[in-house]
């Protein structure tokens, strides 16, 4: 299995790099840190290394392939890169700067993706957190049943929602969009609104379900104490619940971000396909061609679209490292 060696190296290097950051993040000298150190054994380290390597191999193969010419991709395995050397940036050049007139400018698609994902995530997150709080902390008999009903909505395949939702949008939303375009001409008639709403609608059941679990875990006495102090529900929600549920919110935000970012189906239906609205996935799907044999382009495209989700993951990472109740127990 010498072919795994290249995959090993970066991990070791990363461990070294990560050490400084980790030390800075960890509060030195706490009991927790000492306990944990004794918990992580050699076996655990080896096991997690094995899992990490196994999980990396397929993606690593893709990365290597994305720098190889099409001819080599088709005829030799990526692990034979040293026997069959061939390095090209052409796949990335094609994906990033191809000026096919049917879909010219990558830049505007990228801006669209960012705009769609930003609000698509935020709307879902805010409304889901509010609903989850209500389900968790305001007690009525029928509310439980409503919660179960919302939970069950997760199973509705979104393909089944496309037509009815599109009809509703063209009846109610289209006139509003036209009106907005008349008032503010630089906002095109096809705007992001349908996509934002659609993503929020499809994302809410799962978001509520996940956040409810974390929000209902908050110790009841924390909430009760606030109530005794005369805090309103609005204050409790903003001052206590949101800060305490930050790790959960951050985790879900990342997932929702990625789902919206990688979505193609919703975009195809609701974007109208123009570069006013269409996200980058739509552009990549066009590039790849009708019958997807352009492996060399697919490989590069996959990495182009993964960059931003990874940036987001790294910037929200700090929220998971803090314990869920770090704020609560320290008063």
């Amino acid at each position: 299995m010498s072919s795994v060696a290249p995959a090993d190296l970066p991990i070791d290097k990363e461990l070294a790099d990560g050490e400084a950051a980790e030390l800075a993040e960890r509060e030195p000298g706490t009991k927790a840190a000492r306990v944990k150190k004794r918990l992580t054994s050699r076996t655990a380290t080896i096991a997690s290394l094995v899992i990490a390597v196994v999980w990396t191999i397929p993606t690593f193969g893709l990365l290597v392939s994305s720098f190889r010419p099409a001819e080599l991709i088709r005829t030799t395995g990526w692990w034979t890169i040293f026997q069959n050397p061939g390095f090209t940036l052409e796949n990335y050049a094609t994906v990033l700067f191809s000026t096919s007139s049917s879909s010219p400018q990558l830049g505007s698609y990228l801006v669209n993706s960012i705009a769609i994902t930003l609000l698509g995530t935020l709307i879902t997150l805010v409304f889901a957190a509010m609903a989850a709080y209500a389900f968790a902390w305001i007690r009525f008999k029928w509310v439980n049943w409503l919660f179960i009903f919302v939970f069950a909505l997760q199973i509705i395949p979104l393909q089944m929602s496309l037509v009815p939702l599109l009809q509703i949008f063209s009846t109610w939303l289209r006139p509003m969009q036209a009106w907005l375009h008349d008032i503010v001409p630089i906002i095109p008639e096809q705007n992001y609104l349908p996509l934002w709403l659609a993503h929020a609608m499809f994302g809410l059941p799962l978001a509520i379900f996940l956040l409810h679990n974390f929000i209902s875990d908050i110790p009841a006495d924390v909430i009760e104490a606030a109530k005794v102090d005369g805090a309103t529900h609005g204050q409790i929600f903003f001052r206590i619940v949101l800060p305490l549920a930050t790790p959960a919110l951050a985790s879900f935000a990342i997932f929702q971000f990625i789902w919206v970012w990688n979505d193609l189906l919703v975009a195809l239906i609701f974007s109208g396909g123009t570069q006013d609205v269409a996200p980058i996935t739509q552009r990549l799907a066009e590039l790849v061609g009708t019958r997807g044999q352009e492996w060399q382009l697919l490989t590069a495209a996959a990495f182009v679209s993964i960059v931003i989700p990874l940036i987001v993951f790294f910037s929200l990472q700090r929220y998971f490292v803090r314990g869920l109740l770090a704020g609560a127990t320290k008063g």
Partner: protein, 321 residues
């Protein structure tokens, strides 16, 4: 893209943010100003209002419509044709069995690996990087995942193998196998892709939950002289039970809905089809909306046990409080 275009886009985002903030602000304002009488009711209603409005329009109404369509033929007449078709075509039973197999394997394995990994790397050096490795598969779109696993399962009748799995088989002196065409191993191999994607999801959520287990409890257990495995089973697992159920449930539902993997890898040929893939094929490829809707209803039936289980968990939770 011209400068006005870009400005227009930025303006849309800013306006979107402003409107969202205004809506939330108004809601909170009214929540805090709710009348004294039936106060909790009002507050609850306002907290739930936006989310319920969204799901009613986007999901409930379409679901009802789908249920009606399932009992209509193409001419719009009431009939049971779609269900008759579903249970008489030879491949249907196999599709149902495959779906059961997916739900039986993918959620359990993803959750177990994700949990083990989360425990192993908890508070270790380079935790961040360990997490990214497992997280990567989620960030890659399904199209990308299809290509990646194409490079793993590829079969070449003559010449060099470009599929990793067959290259390993050949290196050990075996004959290359047509992985995706060989029933029943092909369904298992497709499930592996799902596990590869979903494990990161389980890991991220369970890792957050593990960090929520109070360290005092672990320390106490340690003073009692228990070993690591006992501490894990007696302290950590009960502490994250709620999260485990949630993760398991979410992955189960995602598995029931999976169609992209099957569609990109085998298109449902070679006895690999699952209900969600058939649904997509019938409704969109074959323009048989009624048949697609009937299959969607079958998915509802599949998810019922999961719902009932969660209802019980929820009941227990509420009693404890």
């Amino acid at each position: 893209m011209t400068t006005p275009d870009l400005l227009g886009k930025i303006l849309q985002v800013v306006m979107g943010l402003v409107v969202l903030a205004a809506v939330v602000g108004l809601l909170i304002f009214f929540i805090d100003k709710a009348p004294k009488k039936g106060r909790d009711y009002w507050q609850l209603a306002l907290f739930l209002l936006p989310a319920m409005l969204f799901v009613a329009i986007g999901l409930v109404y379409p679901a009802i419509r789908t249920s009606f369509l399932a009992f209509q033929n193409n001419a719009g007449e009431w009939s049971l044709d779609n269900f008759i078709w579903m249970f008489t075509q030879p491949a249907a039973i196999r599709t149902l069995i495959n779906t059961v197999l997916w739900v039986a394997l993918a959620p359990v394995i993803s959750t177990v690996i994700g949990l083990a990994y989360a425990v192993f790397i908890d508070k270790s050096r380079g935790e961040k990087y360990y997490k990214v490795i497992l997280f990567m598969p989620i960030a890659i779109s399904f199209v990308g995942a299809g290509v990646i696993w194409g490079f793993v399962y590829d079969y070449n009748g003559v010449g060099d193998q470009i599929g990793l799995l067959n290259a390993i088989v050949v290196a050990f002196g075996g004959e290359p196998v047509q992985w995706l065409q060989t029933d029943p191993i092909n369904t298992i191999l497709l499930i592996v892709i799902m596990i590869w994607i979903q494990t990161g999801f389980a890991m991220v959520l369970l890792s957050a939950a593990i960090k929520g287990v109070p360290t005092e409890q672990i320390e106490a257990a340690e003073l009692d002289g228990t070993n690591a495995w006992q501490r894990f089973m007696n302290v950590t697992v009960p502490g994250i039970r709620g999260s485990l159920v949630v993760v398991f449930t979410t992955i189960s539902i995602a598995t029931l809905k999976v169609f992209d993997i099957v569609r990109t890898m085998t298109a449902g040929n070679f006895n690999t089809s699952v209900v969600a893939n058939e649904m997509y094929t019938q409704a969109f490829r074959a323009s048989e909306i009624g048949r697609g809707s009937a299959l969607a209803l079958i998915l509802f039936v599949f998810v019922l046990p999961i719902v009932i289980y969660n209802v019980n968990v929820l009941r227990k939770q509420r009693e404890i409080r």
